[in-house]
Subunit: 188 residues, 2 copies
DNA sequence: CGGATCGTTGATCAACTTCAACGGTCGTGG
DNA sequence: CCACGACCGTTGAAGTTGATCAACGATCCG
């Protein structure tokens, strides 16, 4: 919980009382490698903060059946379908643990209560959303502008740690390239 | 201004005093067709709410020089590079009026002051961000899953008004298709 | 009427996918 | 300690989607 409080404090500065309130709302949860946190069609009941481990968010191409990774979530980041969580509507995608993973979770009702008790956090979550948004925006732009090779090189530069942590076929999926083609790119 | 207040009230219910404060911060601005609201490399100084008209947000492919439309902004929506606005860093894209356009604008400093005076609005903007994010998410997913034909049909179903309001070459750019290929798709 | 602006059509071309096969490595059980 | 799969990356050949280039038409508007 300290990790999350620290992150919050880096943006909105909570006092001790607020920290206690907030801490009460989050529960720890463990996932084993391969466990699902969310599946397509289900409602995303909790907001999830990653303490340890990693997950992939992906959807299935209905024609080919292949998985298309949308984003990776690692330590200090979120693994939540925000749209599904906020509106409590079915999700369009899946979230699954790549490694053994430890999370902090909060349900939607608790989330709303927490915001009422600590309204300062509205600002925190607004700012978190902004960086999420910036990431998605960048993803769209680079996907459209650059060809597969440049996308891969960009990725290596931007996320060198992820690149070495995950197998290439996951990276390929994230970059929207077939594993075979990524392999050919890597030959240089 | 009434339009914007109404939108805010639909989410956070401001009282009369708050409405007056908020109203004081936003200024009206008019753009002629073709005018730029933001250009690549410049900092997005204002948050912009569209009262009337329409704009396109796009970036230029450095190799081919073609414009790739990222999103359209029409009445009741925003025409702001949020990442650039919030961090006051150079933008990666351009925003340009497609038609004569009327906006409400607020500078970053005013924006922050306004939030301090009316903290309730943190929630409003958080929720606005969430729908923005959901839109981007959907765009990424459909771009990856569907081929050009399905993307176009989806677009027609999702945004029939935009489809008839804008010329096809803009739609093509938004869908990440060449105008020629869109024309071939339309022959069916 | 003349020039933009936009859509269409045909021909060629490039990026990337798909399919199939193979090889290397690693962990597990006999 | 070896053998067997599972898992992952690589390679080759063929196939597709959609881009590009170039030309032509249609429409609109000053």
């Amino acid at each position: 919980m300290q990790q999350l409080l620290k992150k919050m404090n880096s943006i909105v500065a909570l006092n001790a009382e607020e920290e206690t309130i907030v801490s009460g709302y989050w529960k720890e949860k463990t996932l084993k490698k391969g466990d699902f946190l969310l599946t397509n069609g289900a409602v995303c009941r909790t907001d999830n903060y990653v303490l340890q481990g990693s997950l992939k968010a992906y959807f299935i191409d209905p024609e080919t059946g292949t998985e298309e990774i949308f984003y990776f979530a690692i330590e200090h980041w979120w693994a939540t379908d925000i749209d599904s969580f906020q509106k409590q509507i079915p999700s369009r995608y899946n979230i699954q643990a790549i490694e053994d993973t430890k999370l902090l979770q909060i349900t939607k009702e608790s989330f709303e209560k927490m915001l009422l008790e600590v309204p300062r956090l509205e600002r925190f979550f607004r700012i978190i959303l902004e960086s999420y948004l910036a990431t998605l925006q960048r993803k769209i732009i680079t996907n459209q502008i650059h060809d597969a090779k440049v996308r891969y090189l960009d990725f290596l530069k931007e996320y060198p740690l992820i690149a070495e942590r995950f197998p290439n076929y996951l990276i390929a999926s994230y970059l929207n390239i077939s594993p075979e083609f990524l392999s050919r790119i890597r030959k240089k």
